[in-house]
Symmetry: D2
């Protein structure tokens, strides 16, 4: 059976490179279309990337000979789609917000679904912001989105920011088990790969911590409320809890965002043991559908006193599982713990691929 | 005028090395007596330290020829004291708690005051745990301590753990200004020098974070309550607030503990601008007395969005000032900020020296 | 077909852990016997390793329930061997040289071949020091070794130091192509994992370089001469070239030893292009035998100006290939280049496993 | 006595910041004129640098209120010079080579001497490339330079690349003692601060080594020949030795370039002990003149087996001394050793300031 031909918008950037890398050997999808800025267009991807491939894993040879297209040339993409060579695109665009909004809408309008990693459409009313294990039902806004926009086959679906991934699935597992989380204070220790390339200068981070990442705290506090919200009248109605206070810090780590969390429950308060069981047992739609990129066990609970650690736990289960540990009572709130997820896999390209698998399974792709 | 001759117990360990380094050129004190384990005794300090000096600043040559004494040989120290060659000792002992308790009491009983960096006596009822800017009046328990122990000139005074230094002075400045802090969630990013030598293996911390430091969270939560407490009937009555929830993490930084803090006030709540002013204007007894090791301005407020940073701010004012920044409202509590202090200076040997200067000024030394 | 049961001496140390990790899922060998110090004996490996597993990849669950044996108890091992549960052992012993010599001989005398990672027997006259691609014929000293020692089935074979792996195979490929290397100056930048655990203190290596590794330069200069030597009268006759001057340095890198090399040829001098071709085309016995652990292409030539890099190239082909780059004329000698190999895989456990595969193919195991 | 007013061209770049920082409190010179690109001109230096000051030591407050001038506006500088507010400039220009050539000549033609850190004029025939301890007599080409250019008071003097500083003074001390160095193989481990800001991306260097720095090896091999050359007929006649083969590597270190050196002498070969004595005893003109920035002892010999190290030795004597160690026979050549110098102090701004002090003492400023 032949694979589904997919495209990557922004294929030369760091997120694009991660898509290229993670889609290598994917059982369902095959990269057939790569698009970037006009100045790369017309050249082979392998040639364009000489000296620009910055992942620690080498570029798969399978994409070397693909001719790079101009990401602004939607007509060209539509042609490819018509010929059956492009089913949908992953958007890893790195541009001004307005340009991304215009381009993603353009592709969708041309009948090419857009599974996006960009932040531009995260707060668009009718665009689902998906974590496949948490709010897969949000995908069901797509027909309404298509209808209101007058789009046929195309649509836009996005994923949230990388820094919230290490606690969103744990939070959701508890909420689903009936424990409402009222408030949480989170403090992150984020990897430099989250800033792209060239990103964080080494002079700023060797033997140092930078206790600030522009815009990150706002995203960390707001995005969960849309993700935990409900579809009402073709729009998302934001949840009102948990209220989150986020402290976002950059540390000298290549990959893997670590977070400390203190959380307060509303009325019903689970014990440490109950939480461990809920998290260990948690399975969601991606697991039930046995999606290729889905982790077998979405939340891995470690009992050792000093885990999770990015160096030891980020790559577990293809980098798609969230690892938690140090679950213990909190002096100030009810429970505190440490969470970890791989920011460029679970938090970016891997999460985007899993979203596409989910959307495919639900029949939207 | 001749300097006061001081001794260092545990002079070969990392804290001892920091005392040696920071006391070099001190205007009041001069290291005349160094004591370590029996196997180092009888040799010159310079010879003993060949291959064992691990500070990044070289060992001052002035101590090279001092003969190392056996720290267990209190008689020898008493003799030195009698001859006017030893006025008091800094304890940087690294032993079992019981051994430290016995030794520190032994020196004090022999008439040699002990200004200690060790944790053994922190919770001893009549021993003051001093941060010179916060609770200098706690030193006034010393006469009661001496009386109840039957000690003449000797006494024991200690300093608290390094990880709380970056928020204790800020907290105190607010409390003194009339703002009671009810609760706080703190998350630290601590330097490897806090673990001594050899301390944290490089395999554990390069490209990694370890979200656990044994015993550190308990100390961080409890010690503030003694420090903010009051002397009543020759004992310390612990304060009941702030209730603190501490998350302690190790990061790949050589020196400087960074902390994120979310704090809740009781009734009276200061604004961000009020806090900046209180902190910037804060001066305490060490500043009034113009003590040599005292920072001119104990709390430095940075307005840049990305400060403090350990790499840039740890060494300010001899490493003795606390730097704070990112003072802003908190979604969950009232105010959040980032604090930083140099763990081996302000948080260890430098803090100990300042305590000794304070005790001298108060007439106890 | 059932797998060959193998044992690991020193299974709880870092090299032992690497053997455990790399042998997980090996097509020929299965770990059935793990031995360590007496105090670990009698307990399950998984229990013994709680808090002691320091690899960044988790311990495979398959070994958790194996009961740890006392490495000094050769009788117990012989019994296992007799019952068909132990065909040979990998020695990852970390002890005094004399103890290792005694133990490795003991196992061999008991009929259990020893494929060793330890340095103790590297200079034993009749013990081959093998790099599978370089001197596989040295294994053929084994019958003479067995005869002179009066051993039946047992023997000892070792591998050389990790730091020479990145240039030994490149040197050998050139020698085999007829280009004698007269002299070479090499300067290494070695990973901290080479020092085991706890190994290099983080205080010594964050934001630092340590230009010294005890004993490493001597090994780097001498071992190549035995490896390039010839068997004569049941002993190794050392080669007289290349004369090597080694500068060994420790850098803040987790895995992967990088080396800069300037080399002088005797009469016949290859061009840069000839060298690239020789190295790219080089295949040796492990490749011809298609051994499971053998890299497909032992020497990978990179043409980019800034490669190899440990972060990007160490894991190529299971961590077993050597990557070279920057091949260019040398002002002082003839040619210079940069080499890289994974020190704990190619340079330690992986190299040991490949040696065992070679010895199996040659009929010695 | 009032200080000499000096200017800094390129004052907002990293080298410029280092000049600002190191000149703070200088006994002879005072920064009175700072120039940068046109878009910074007219603003206060302190305001321009908000968010752009990247040194780990804070910007001295004394320069905050200086109005930034346009570095292209030589007329403005000439005016300042005329008013006695600008005696000479340090050039820390970061531009295209041609622009720097034009600008530096422009300032000199306008009667303003240029003490440059830029590489543009290093190979200009009549421009001295000075290391104050090595070739102070090269300054004496200045009258010829002025005459041939038709310049009155202005001239251009430059300093060499940072990476050669750790062996040039040691080489020179030996040459001066009568030991000709024929050939040397050097392999550097260079700090990230050498690449300026933003410079090396953290993604490229955490847990990594980059064995390549564009253009650095060529400079390292050629510049010594000019520095060791002689003035003949108003031009520099290059020395013919030592022939150097340089391997330049970037490592995860903030400051301090470390280098391993194997060197071959011509006929007369010094012993290790002779070399130690020559280096320890070496004093040059800056020491004789007691110049403020001159290290008391230009070459510090360490006897410990594991020194020098950048983390421990870079800051010795204001960061101006070169530290050497591991002096030992070389298998391939005669002697090998490890050298270290602070790249942004000795190797850049500090070296430039010392050059200016030398030029002042010689009467050229």
């Amino acid at each position: 059976m032949s694979k589904i031909p997919v495209g990557i918008l922004g294929a030369t950037g760091m997120v694009g490179q991660n898509y290229i890398s993670l889609l290598d050997g994917h059982p369902w999808f095959e990269v057939k279309y790569v698009a970037a800025s006009a100045r790369s267009a017309g050249k082979k991807y392998g040639d364009v990337m000489t000296g620009r491939w910055h992942l620690r894993k080498n570029c798969p040879s399978s994409v070397n000979d693909i001719i790079v297209e101009d990401a602004n040339d939607i007509t060209r993409a539509a042609q490819s789609a018509k010929q059956g060579n492009l089913a949908f695109v992953f958007s890893a665009l790195e541009m001004e917000k307005n340009e991304i909004l215009a381009l993603e809408s353009g592709y969708a309008a041309a009948g090419i679904p857009v599974v996006s990693n960009a932040s531009a459409n995260r707060w668009t009313d009718d665009v689902p912001m998906l974590i496949a294990e948490v709010n897969p039902d949000h995908a069901d806004i797509i027909p309404a989105q298509q209808k209101s926009r007058g789009w046929n086959k195309g649509f836009i679906a996005v994923k949230p920011n990388c820094s919230i991934q290490s606690y969103m699935t744990p939070f959701w597992a508890l909420i689903q088990a009936g424990y409402e989380i009222k408030r949480a204070v989170v403090s992150t220790m984020q990897a430099v790969s989250g800033a792209g390339y060239p990103g964080v200068p080494s002079l700023d981070i060797i033997d140092n911590v930078v206790p600030y990442i522009g815009g990150e705290e706002e995203k960390s506090e707001l995005e969960p409320l849309k993700i935990f919200g409900k579809i009402e009248n073709g729009k998302f109605n934001k949840a009102s809890s948990p209220v989150i206070s986020a402290h976002c810090n950059r540390v000298p780590v290549i990959n893997g965002h670590t977070v400390t969390v203190s959380m307060e429950f509303s009325d019903k308060k689970p014990s440490v043991e109950q939480i461990k069981k809920i998290w260990t047992d948690f399975r969601a739609l991606p697991q039930k559908l046995n999606l290729p990129m889905a982790p077998v066990q979405p939340i891995i609970v470690r009992d050792e006193p000093n885990r999770p650690q990015p160096g030891m736990d980020r790559d577990i289960d293809k980098g798609m599982a969230v690892t938690v540990g140090r679950i213990r009572p909190c002096n100030v709130f009810d429970i505190r713990f440490v969470g970890l997820s791989h920011n460029t896999v679970r938090g970016a390209a891997g999460g985007g691929i899993l979203n596409a698998e989910l959307l495919k399974s639900k029949g939207y792709l």
